[in-house]
């Protein structure tokens, strides 16, 4: 069902695709033009062009700090996710394949329970007492692990099925490797590319996470999204430069994931 059509029908499909593209592009294009405009108010086109908003943004220490803190939290969360999810997947698929059905239900929870609901409980549980984590990046790392979990679990599962885990393990053990050697030296290298793609894509949506960051930590450890929200009262041009810089960064990550994905086949 993916044959290119010709004639008037083909033209119709082409027009629809262009309209879809325009709808998706419009807000980004508007923001981009605003970010390079000297001023733009009450007229259809901006008064003049400049790159001073980008200079202002990239020399703002608070922005650079927020950017670095976002990076740290996301990388931390992804390291935690890999450390927790890889052994889990390996054990489930190698030793207890029946657990996969249970896991598939459990990983629906982060989808079904919106962050704003979890935050209510998290604020009360970890606001004070022995596990007081609210206001620190640690709580974000834990929460982001749950956000990334469904996606990472599904993506790595697909990879494990593609490499035929059980046969690979048996073959390695037949050749004298123990379970750990087989897992680390044989299975892991085969998963490397799939894992990289899953990590890049997870990173791109964790980087845009706002709800947990704002409700649980706020300005005490400002991430990029929280910074963006707190800058609402500064110049719109400055904010646009911020939005575009953020989007380009995410674009770079998804582009890299796409490239890796194409190389795989």
């Amino acid at each position: 069902m993916s044959r290119a059509e010709r004639g008037p029908v083909g033209l119709y499909h082409r027009v629809v695709v262009y309209i879809l593209f325009l709808i998706l592009l419009a807000p980004l294009l508007g923001t981009f033009v605003y970010s390079i405009a000297t001023s733009w108010s009450a007229t259809i086109l901006p008064a003049g062009l400049t790159y001073k908003w980008y200079v202002a943004l990239w020399s703002d220490p608070r922005f650079l700090m927020a950017f670095a803190q976002s990076l740290l939290v996301c990388v931390g969360a992804l390291i935690l996710s890999v450390v927790l999810i890889l052994p889990l997947l390996f054990v489930v698929h190698y030793h207890f394949p029946k657990l996969d059905a249970l896991m598939n239900i459990l990983i629906l929870l982060p989808f079904a329970v919106p962050p704003v609901v979890s935050s209510v409980g998290l604020l009360q549980l970890y606001g004070s007492g022995p596990l007081a984590m609210v206001g620190t990046p640690w709580i974000l790392i834990g929460c982001y692990f749950t956000v990334a979990l469904p996606f990472m679990y599904r993506a790595i599962t697909n990879n494990l099925q593609a490499i035929n885990l059980v046969d690979l393990m048996d073959a390695a053990q037949l050749l004298g490797a123990n379970t750990f050697q087989a897992a680390f030296l044989v299975v892991l290298p085969n998963l490397r590319k799939g894992l990289m793609i899953a990590l890049l894509l997870s990173f791109s949506f964790l980087f845009g996470e706002f709800v947990f960051a704002n409700l649980l930590v706020g300005t005490r450890y400002e991430t990029l999204q929280v910074y963006l929200n707190n800058m609402r009262n500064s110049s719109g041009h400055f904010n646009s430069a911020l939005v575009i810089s953020y989007f380009l960064f995410v674009l770079l990550l998804t582009w890299a994931a796409n490239r890796l994905n194409k190389d795989k086949d």
């Binding site: 419009a26 927790l84 054990v91 030793h95 009360q124 749950t146």
Partner: protein, 280 residues
Amino acid sequence: MNSQSRGKWLGLLCLVPFAVFFIAFQIAPLAWVAINSLHSDAGWGLDNFIKAFNSRFYRQAMQYSLEISFWSSLIGIVIAILGSYSLRKVPGRLRDFVSAFANMTSNFSGVPLAFAFIILLGFNGALTLILKQAGIIDDFNLYSKTGLIILYTYFQIPLGVLLLYPAFDALREDWRESASLLGASGWDFWRHIGIPVLTPALLGTFVILLANALGAYATVYALTTGNFNVLPIRIAAMVAGDISLDPNMASALAMILVGMMTLVTIVHQWLLKRSYHVSR
């Protein structure tokens, strides 16, 4: 045998760290919310829920949440259906480019999206001005229900395209040719073959879009600084606001929100069972 079972025990041990983190950050908060929604100053009971459903203000929040979610999901899925169907019918390069672009814009939501919309469709937004000068609209208020529906629709479209694009695989080209050989018109084909075959995927996508919109907080918060009355805003205001903290009431509203999502999922499962394609 012995080493085999030892391997299994070691394997179970590997699951412990995962379980600890999953319980701490996913199960425990949800359990806290579920339990405390039943607790109020008056003691244990359904007081919070009774208060929530009797309050005009909270009922309005539920109504707005449902309305915005429903309409943005419906408009979003219609655009996504038209778009993803046409995407499969255009030459490869255009298709790859636009679907990759849709993929990327699915990350463009929340605070940055709200800002982009303020610039484009705010009181002095470029598009608002163009439409005003062309005489198409008198005025447009982005900070209203209609404005929010448009904003939500925008982030539903890429997600819908992403989910529906593979679904059209189920529809084989030769079915269409066979149908037309047997005398079916284009409309007959869709009425009797196309839509029934696609129904499960359409329903599933619609449910995911609904859930996505019901739980959305960042976009509406960034757009209206928390001044628009929808459930996620109410919940957050009662645990993180400056005034009137009431975690128990927040828990009750949170349970109502989760309840809505559960209800939608149950209806989905029920419709799926009744639908024609279930034997697959």
